[in-house]
Symmetry: C2
Subunit: 337 residues, 2 copies
């Protein structure tokens, strides 16, 4: 691989300037077709204990607004995820609100008086206090180490070859991006990692849920959360804890009116969107418990889907790229059939 | 430069794992501070003839909704831009509507009956018919050639060095990304280009405005437009014409309710947002003519701003990245003071 050097890139670049009709098969499967054709075994149930159900006050015309968040599995962001589960169990979020919506950035929710020492809602006892080194994890978890090991990068020349490899090739799985020496999918999540695969961290893609905090060394508790509603602000990776992603009802957060205060904060209390309740799905009565699955990111259906996202050959496209930003390959999620 | 090889990347990666306090100056200027401090001469007036003013029906509580779009300057997308100006002059858009809002993708507007041969609104005579090769331009325009020339890439080894260079360095200006062998700013716009700088094309960043079309070889007229309201769908670059960007009132398009039909199409006519008028600013009476400026992308203020976006060293951040996705460096726009 080291000697393959940059030839694959030159070939890929050359291919892109060839008129489309000469190089592509018409009407290849679109990413959505590949998802629809994935067998039942390609789908993984999301544990009810990892699903957070947030009920907002009804919208226009009394329309219910329910948002479902998938919390990150081990070993990522453990302390914050534990705090959020404790806050949900204590019904702490009930009566808080969406307080900030900044266009092309984030929608944020929590205690509107959180910054006011007198009026702030008291946090339950026993929340973990996290340190900044926990924004990333050491890859000593066996499954994570296996994901990283399968994609090991031996040295800088390997990385250069990976950067140059066409999408779908073995080498391409090693490549990173501007924000991380390596990017990969593991257990249904997009991750960044260092070149040696010793540390890994979750990414701020669209819909990612992170933990609001004050200035360093504060790391936040999990009582103030936000989700990404614009272009992935990847510069936040490892600067703030990512704890999950919105998997249903995203439109109830992304289509809210933008706040007119600094950083998109709602200036008047009446603009805030009340949060009626936040519960773990496992604490809801069975009929109200949502059930979701993600497409196994280690399987063939996902590989084909990712390749199709990287090189759109369905009828609409005339120039397949041969690569994709990892945040442009959202992990498919569905309701359990 | 060719021999510098990958050392800069290794240094950059090493620096990123050093605890933050040891490497950064606290409270360096944030990107916003740099914009605020830019001298008057760093700002460039946008010609009134390049500004499209779209007035939507008032929103909740009778709130006015005005969207301002900056059309691309020469030499990009000339035929489509000319068509859009002709359509505006003919008041053709008046009475059309926002017909589609797909979360994390696009808001689209035009004739709701555009696909219906009987009911479709008649287009004015004389619109240009564009070909697919015009999604990119040949860099024979002197200013564009100068921008590209200043950032010439001699061969693959240079590109590898560029990919590895730390942000802000001379080499870093040469680097491309997954979607384009080179990316650069020119005359206030983010562009992609081929390795030799012979062809360049506009990018689908957040807020970019593109031309809806049917299947290839159709290229659209400009009568159906969309804007990006989520993560940059860069796979659309050179597959669809980009003609401009929303520079004011983006929230009136990005915060609309998402459509529930396939691809986010509004299923009921009542959901559509009526477009009252679309005019070129140059055709409006002086008091209603908006005036905007962009920060000169060839100047020092923009360089400092871009570097600060790439390596956030203001108080909130603990790990500057040393690079940024070009769509994460939005060109600063302001009202003319």
């Amino acid at each position: 691989m080291r000697t393959a050097g940059l030839f694959p890139m030159l070939l890929a670049v050359a291919a892109m300037s060839v008129p489309a009709a000469a190089q592509i098969k018409p009407a290849a499967l679109a990413p959505g077709d590949i998802i629809a054709a994935a067998p039942a075994a390609a789908w993984v149930d999301i544990p009810h204990d990892d699903l957070l159900v947030m009920t907002l006050a009804p919208g226009a015309g009394g329309k219910p607004r329910r948002v479902v968040i998938q919390l990150m599995p081990a070993p990522f962001s453990r302390g914050w995820v534990g705090n959020i589960k404790a806050l949900a169990k204590a019904h702490w979020f009930d009566g808080t609100a969406v307080v900030r919506v900044q266009d092309n950035y984030v929608t944020q929710w929590g205690d509107p008086n959180g910054e006011d020492k007198v009026k702030a809602k008291k946090l339950p006892a026993g929340l973990a206090q996290m340190t900044e080194d926990q924004y990333e994890v050491v890859a000593d978890d066996k499954q994570l180490a296996a994901s990283l090991g399968r994609q090991a990068v031996e040295d800088a020349a390997d990385r250069a070859a990976a950067a140059a490899a066409p999408a779908g090739s073995e080498e391409a799985r090693l490549r990173g991006d501007i924000y991380a020496p390596r990017v990969l999918f593991h257990a249904g999540w997009p991750l960044g990692a260092d070149a040696k695969g010793e540390h890994a961290w979750p990414l701020h893609c669209y819909g990612a849920v992170g933990v609001g905090r004050n200035l360093s060394p504060d790391t936040g508790t999990g009582a103030e959360l936000y989700t990404v509603i614009g272009h992935a602000p990847r510069h936040l990776d490892r600067n703030i804890a990512v704890v999950g992603r919105v998997i249903d009802g995203m439109e109830h957060l992304s289509s809210l009116p933008r706040g007119t205060g600094a950083l998109g904060v709602y200036e008047r209390a009446a603009e805030r969107v009340p949060i009626l309740s936040v519960r773990l799905a496992s604490d809801l009565p069975a009929p109200r418990r949502p059930a979701f699955q993600y497409l196994d990111t280690a399987g063939g259906s996902f590989s084909r889907y990712a390749e199709a996202r990287a090189s759109r050959r369905d009828a609409f496209f005339i120039r397949p790229v041969g690569g994709a930003d990892i945040c442009n390959i959202p992990v498919p999620i569905r309701r359990r059939p």
